[in-house]
Structures are given as structure tokens and as C-alpha cells.
């Protein structure tokens, strides 16, 4: 991979909070244009990792570089390329929405007023209301606007849709797709709503107890695990089916539903043909893939 394309480079990053090891020896490259889904259980270190990338946390060991600079020393120039929506949703509650937008936009010369207007009308954000009086969902919408308003090169979304209602979530996904289509923006999304995430990501990072247990493209993850149903065309299925790398299997007399790892579709079809069975192969949704990778 071309080094110029790498915008986040993490090497052997570790972080402790007292006796708890939040990050364990993480090594990771994030390239320009990648749309990454950062997945993992609560407390597995996702937010900690993201905060290292923007320099809010300092590493106990290893290095973390963003845009080629040590994340701890990021200057306004580099930080001006990063949009960040954090899960706490902490905004300046004493301002009205309009005042907050004016305040944040004052920091960015490249503030996109056209996008701002479109977003406000799409999401129906009340401009004259005080930020503290907004509902959690409205606050999140506002936080997203503030993070994308200056067309950042790197957009970090830490649980961006957790407080949004289904309609707002759908609009948010549309907006995200528009952002993805316009230019080579890098986006990291940490979310538990996997059905949403899978619509936009092209790369997955799965974390477990402070470690990255999977760093691969979403397509390769989908190809790695296949779910299929075989139905016998002439009576019952043999008790020991000749499939390899079986992760899960549910079988009755003439039908079996299986999940296999690292098997090709052709190979599965050949085996089914030899057994005189009908086979239906599906790729797994991210929800199931996540469960398999994390829980085994």
C-alpha cells in the first residue's frame, strides 16, 4: 500500500487506565478513502482507540500518527481535517443551535454553508432552541452537522446513530452515503447498530478486550463465512456430512443448515451435487458475522 495514502498509522499502541488495560499492542493502518466499521462490545476499547487517533488520549506504549504527525502533537491544520462525533454528545448547552453553529463555523475557513442549510432543513433542526433543551436525538444530529460542516478528510463517528429514531437514522445513512460518494473521504464508524453499518462500510475492524481481532475488508469477511441450506432430493441426509470447517450446523433427516469458514461456493455446490442435494448459499449479515468472530 502506498505510504502517502495512509492517514492513520498505529504501531504497538497500548493504554492502561489503572489496572485495566484498555488497548493491547494495537497495530493498524487506515488508508485514505476507507470506510471503516469499528465493531466490538461495550468497553472493548473502541472509543479509547478513536481518542488516540485525534490526540485526546496519550499512549502508554507505541505510537499513533494521524496525517503523518504524532497524534498528541496535532496542530489546528491537521485537526481542521478531522470531524469527530463523540458518544457523550457534549455540546455547549448554553448556546442556541444557531449560535453554536456560528461559533463552531467561525473556526473553519472552509465551512460548507450550503451543506449546513441542506442538513438543517432535512433534519428539521430547531435553530432558535437552546442546545441544552434539545432531545438526545436532536443533539446527535447537531453534533453530526458540526462534524461534517467543514468537509473533513477524516470523519470519526463514535456511536453516531445511537439516539436517532429510525427515520432520522435512515436520513443519516443517506447523508453518509452522499459523503462517501463525494471525494475520497475516510470515515470510521463505531456503532452497535450493525444493520446500518453494513450498508456503508468497506472495511471492518473488530475489537475484543482491547485487541483488534479482525482487520480485513468487509467483502473478504463476508466471503470467509458462508451460510447454506442443503435439502436432500432422495430421502434422508447422511449423518456425517462431508463438509469441512463447519462453524455451526443444524440438521434433521432431510435438511441441514450450516455455516462454514474458508470454503468456496463452487466446492460447496460440488459436494451438494455428489450428495444429490439441493443447496442454497447465502452470505451472512454483519450481525451474524460479528457474533461468529467475537464469540467463535
Amino acid at each position: 500500500m502506498n505510504n502517502e495514502n495512509i492517514i492513520v498509522q498505529i504501531r504497538n499502541l497500548s493504554k492502561h487506565f489503572g489496572k485495566i488495560q484498555a488497548l493491547k499492542d494495537i497495530t493498524l493502518d487506515i488508508s485514505r478513502g476507507q470506510i471503516i466499521g469499528l465493531l466490538g462490545a461495550n468497553g472493548c476499547g473502541k472509543s479509547t482507540l478513536l481518542r488516540h487517533i485525534i490526540g485526546l488520549y496519550l499512549a502508554d506504549g507505541g505510537t499513533c500518527e494521524t496525517f503523518g504527525t504524532d497524534a498528541a502533537k496535532l496542530s489546528p491544520v491537521e485537526l481542521g481535517k478531522i470531524g469527530y462525533v463523540h458518544q457523550e454528545g457534549e455540546l455547549l448547552g448554553w448556546m442556541t443551535v444557531k449560535q453554536l453553529i456560528r461559533y463552531v463555523s467561525a473556526y473553519y475557513k472552509n465551512w460548507n454553508h450550503h451543506l449546513e442549510e441542506k442538513y438543517i432543513s432535512d433534519f428539521n433542526i430547531p435553530l432558535t432552541k437552546r442546545v441544552a433543551s434539545l432531545s438526545p436525538g436532536q443533539r446527535q444530529q447537531l453534533a453530526i452537522l458540526l462534524a461534517i460542516g467543514f468537509d473533513p478528510e477524516l470523519l470519526i463517528l463514535d456511536e453516531p446513530a445511537s439516539a436517532l429514531d429510525p427515520l432520522a437514522r435512515s436520513r443519516f445513512l443517506d447523508l453518509l452515503l452522499q459523503l462517501i460518494q463525494s471525494g475520497d473521504r475516510t470515515i470510521i464508524i463505531s456503532s452497535h447498530i450493525l444493520s446500518d453499518v453494513e450498508k456503508v462500510i468497506d472495511h471492518t475492524l473488530i475489537m475484543k478486550q482491547g485487541e483488534i481481532i479482525r482487520d480485513c475488508s468487509f467483502d473478504s469477511l463476508r466471503e470467509e463465512f458462508l451460510k447454506f441450506t442443503i435439502t436432500s432430493l432422495n430421502g434422508s441426509l447422511p449423518k456425517n456430512l462431508p463438509f469441512k470447517n463447519i462453524i455451526q450446523c443444524e440438521q434433521n433427516d432431510n435438511k441441514a443448515v450450516m455455516i462454514v469458514q474458508n470454503e468456496t461456493e463452487d466446492n460447496l455446490r460440488n459436494i451438494a451435487k455428489n450428495l444429490n442435494c439441493e443447496i442454497e448459499i447465502k452470505t451472512l449479515p454483519l450481525d451474524d458475522l460479528y457474533k461468529i468472530v467475537v464469540c467463535g
Partner: protein, 461 residues
């Protein structure tokens, strides 16, 4: 385990409360000592003790009852009453026993005095409890304790002693009446529903930045109309942020906007604050000698919660260096602001001194004393020290409060010592402009180094 027992368990389960109860027990020692001597001042001491005890005791059930889930707990409606009554009865018994040792002529008088003080004490206890349940930011009432400095001048301890000892029957009757009122007040039908999910400040929340922020925001929402940033102020700051140079200037203006926009926009609040300051000035001016100089100390104490853009996860394109310079500039601006305010009051006190009349109360003539301008430097010494403590202990608000109280005590003690020594010796060898200057420079140096260390070498969330 009953809900009442669970509530009472809080009394010893939290370290901060254990420290607080130890303080209350500690104050009992001088009360007992003065009681044995039969001094008049003990009665006032008991009432102050009871009032503070009522405040902090009531802060526990109010903390529980304002949680969103408590409304669902079975029988929780009566818990505040049971909890407060348990503690009230125990403390009344304690003071009844202590005052059995009050030097009186006969046993009947001793019993009457002990009963009288216990009952009068419960009145102040219930007053404290009522304040907590009435005002979400009840801590502000503690500030008025400073006015007790006036009591000596107005001969109040003797008056109180007379009422407690001689008019014991009236006091006992009033005590019973207040206790009945308290019973009726806390046994209302929908008390749990009234407080459920409300934003209230707990015993130590005055030093909890996060909690204060949530509280302030909820108040702003409630008073949406009155808390507004003036368009002129907003435009003044936004223009400067937008057109500032490429260095730290933009972030400094941004931080100053945070720190001062609301304050400068609220002309009615500011004039109200000025009016309260003037009233305080007039009252304290007549207490004589050094007490009025507390005006130099109190604003510094209030600056502990001053805004600094260090630990904010909200990302505007400012790095660690920018956070450092913006925080530093904001604290400097805050200090200058406090110096201006306190110096204005000092000047005002000097200007009005010639026209202030002497007041005669209980055969005592009270002269108005102006602020001693030699103490004008106090904010510039206290603010960096207290902010340094806040920076170091920002995750431990109770410890921060404790250390800052020590600093406050030390500075105020130094002011008192200055006057006392001056009176006795006529000369204070080590207090001179040079030593004060050195102290101020040292305080700012320590503050700057710690601030820089935190901004550059610590986690910012």
C-alpha cells in the same frame, strides 16, 4: 432490608460523608467545652451546627428521591420524613445530654435549658432540611453564614442566651410546633412524585464541574428567556474568532467567549450581583476591623469553577498547545476581572466612608470601616493556587474542595494574623510588597507549569 435502612447506610458508606460527620463531631468538642464554661456564645454555635447538620443530612434523602427510579420504589414517599426524623431525634438527644452539664442553679433549670436548646436546635435543623428540599442549589445559603460575624456587634449571643434560658417554655412550645410542621410538610402525599427525576445538587456537587454544568444547563432551559447571549456580545466574539490570526488568538477568543459571554449579556443579573455586593459591603463594613476584607477572598473562591477548555471532548480544530494558551489566557482574564471588581468595591468603600454614619446598637457604637486596599492582591494569589488544585484533583471533587478550603483558611488566617500582629506589635516584618510579589509570581509559575503539563502530557478527556 428496608428502604430506610438502605438510606441510612449512606451515612457511613461514603468516604466523603464520613469526613463530613467527623467534622461535625469535631465541632462538638468546642461546643461541649464552651457549654461547661457556661458561655453565651455556645447557643449560637449550636444553632449554626444544627443548621449545617440539617443541610447535609437532608442532602442525602434529596439525592435519593430525585433519582428517576425512586418513584417506583414501594413506600418511598415516607422515607425522607423517617430518615430526617431519625437523625433529628438522635441529635436532639445528644444535645439534651450535653446541656445537662450547662452550669445552672438547680436541676429543674438544667432540664429546662437542655430541653429548650434541643428543641431550638431542631428548629434550625428543620430549617436546614427545608432549604435543601426547597432550593436545588441550596449550598448558596452557606455563604450567608459570613453574616454571623455581625452577631457579636449586635450583642446577639446574649439575647439568644436570654431567650433559651429564661424563656424556655416558649422555646419548647415553638420547637414542638416546628416539629409538627416538619412532620406535616414531609408526610405530604406526593412528595416522591414531586421530586422524582428533578435536577438537584448533592452535598458535594458544588465542586463537581460536570454536575454543575448539567445543573446550569437545566436551569437555563427552565429560564430560557432570561438567559440569552446578547447579539452584540456574540458578534463581538464571533468576529474575533473568525478573523483572528493563525496562531492561538482564535482559541483564546473562543475561550473568552465561553467564559464571559453569558456574564456580559446578563445586565439584570450583573446589576443584581452588584446590588448584593453593595449590601454585603455595607453590612460587613460595620463589623469592624478585618471582616470586610473577606470581599477580597470570596470572589477568588468562586473562581474555582472558572471555564477552561482543557477537558472538552468537543473537537474544534485546536490542539494541545491551543488548549494551553486558551486556558491560560482565560484564567488571566478571570483574575483581572475579579481584581477589577474587588478593587471597585474597595474604592467604593473608601469613597463612602466619610458619609457613612455611626450606628448605635445595644449601647455599642459601630463605625463603618472601608476595605483595606493593601489586600487587593489576594485574588491574584488565590486564583492560580486554587485553579492548580482543581487541575490536579479534577477527578476528585471532594478532595479538591478540602484542599481549596485549606487554602482559603490559610489566606483568611493570614489576613486575621496580619491585623492581630499589627495590633500587638505594630510591625509585621515579613509581610511586605516584595515577599507578596514573590508569592504571586510563584503561584502563577506553579499554575502555568501544571497547566502546561496537563495540556501537553495528560489525557484530555
Amino acid at each position: 432490608m428496608s428502604i430506610l435502612i438502605i438510606n441510612l447506610k449512606q451515612l457511613y458508606q461514603r468516604i466523603s460523608l464520613i469526613v463530613l460527620w467527623l467534622c461535625f463531631i469535631g465541632f462538638l468538642v468546642p461546643i461541649v467545652t464552651i457549654t461547661l464554661k457556661g458561655s453565651a456564645g455556645v447557643f449560637g454555635g449550636v444553632f449554626v451546627w444544627y443548621y449545617l447538620f440539617g443541610l447535609f443530612t437532608a442532602s442525602i434523602p434529596v439525592e435519593v428521591i430525585t433519582k428517576p427510579f425512586t418513584f417506583c420504589l414501594p413506600g418511598h414517599n415516607n422515607i425522607p420524613l423517617k430518615f430526617l426524623s431519625c437523625v433529628c431525634f438522635s441529635s436532639a438527644c445528644l444535645f439534651f445530654i450535653i446541656f445537662l452539664f450547662y452550669p445552672e442553679e438547680n436541676v429543674a433549670h438544667k432540664l429546662a435549658t437542655a430541653m429548650s436548646i434541643a428543641m431550638a436546635g431542631t428548629m434550625f435543623y428543620w430549617l436546614g432540611a427545608w432549604v435543601v428540599f426547597r432550593f436545588p442549589n441550596w449550598q448558596f445559603t452557606i455563604a450567608f453564614m459570613g453574616l454571623l460575624g455581625l452577631s457579636q456587634k449586635f450583642n446577639i449571643p446574649e439575647i439568644v442566651k436570654y431567650i433559651i434560658v429564661k424563656e424556655w417554655l416558649a422555646v419548647i412550645c415553638s420547637g414542638i410546633f416546628v416539629n409538627i410542621l416538619a412532620y406535616l410538610h414531609w408526610s405530604r402525599k406526593y412528595i416522591a412524585r414531586k421530586y422524582c427525576g428533578k435536577m438537584w445538587l448533592g452535598a458535594f456537587d458544588a465542586w463537581n464541574k460536570q454536575r454543575l454544568k448539567v445543573y446550569t444547563e437545566s436551569r437555563m432551559v427552565a429560564k430560557n428567556k432570561s438567559w440569552k447571549i446578547s447579539p452584540a456580545i456574540e458578534s463581538f466574539f464571533i468576529k474575533r474568532i473568525t478573523y483572528a490570526g493563525p496562531n492561538f488568538e482564535r482559541y483564546i477568543w473562543g475561550s473568552l467567549y465561553h467564559a464571559f459571554a453569558i456574564m456580559f449579556s446578563q445586565q439584570s443579573q450583573s446589576s443584581r450581583g452588584f446590588l448584593i455586593g453593595c449590601i454585603l459591603l455595607l453590612c460587613l463594613g460595620y463589623t469592624g476591623s478585618f471582616t470586610i476584607n473577606v470581599i477580597f477572598v470570596i470572589p477568588s473562591l468562586m473562581m474555582i469553577q472558572a471555564y477552561m477548555p482543557i477537558h472538552s471532548p468537543m473537537l474544534i480544530a485546536g490542539g494541545r498547545k491551543e488548549r494551553f494558551w486558551a486556558s491560560f489566557a482565560t484564567i488571566v482574564a478571570d483574575t483581572i476581572f475579579v481584581l477589577l471588581v474587588t478593587s471597585s468595591f474597595a474604592l467604593l468603600s473608601i469613597l463612602i466612608t466619610p458619609i457613612m454614619p455611626a450606628i448605635t446598637i445595644s449601647d455599642r457604637e459601630l463605625q463603618f470601616t472601608p476595605l483595606d486596599t493593601r489586600f487587593f492582591f489576594i485574588p491574584s494569589l488565590m486564583i492560580p493556587l486554587m485553579i492548580t488544585v482543581r487541575l490536579l484533583l479534577h477527578k476528585m471533587p471532594v478532595l479538591m474542595m478540602f484542599v481549596n478550603t485549606i487554602i482559603f483558611g490559610a489566606v483568611w488566617g493570614a489576613v486575621i494574623a496580619f491585623f492581630e500582629t499589627k495590633r500587638k506589635a505594630g510591625f509585621v516584618p515579613y509581610v511586605n510588597p516584595l515577599s507578596i510579589m514573590c508569592l504571586i509570581i510563584m503561584a502563577w509559575l506553579i499554575f502555568t507549569l501544571i497547566l502546561r503539563h496537563i495540556c501537553m502530557k495528560r489525557n484530555l478527556v
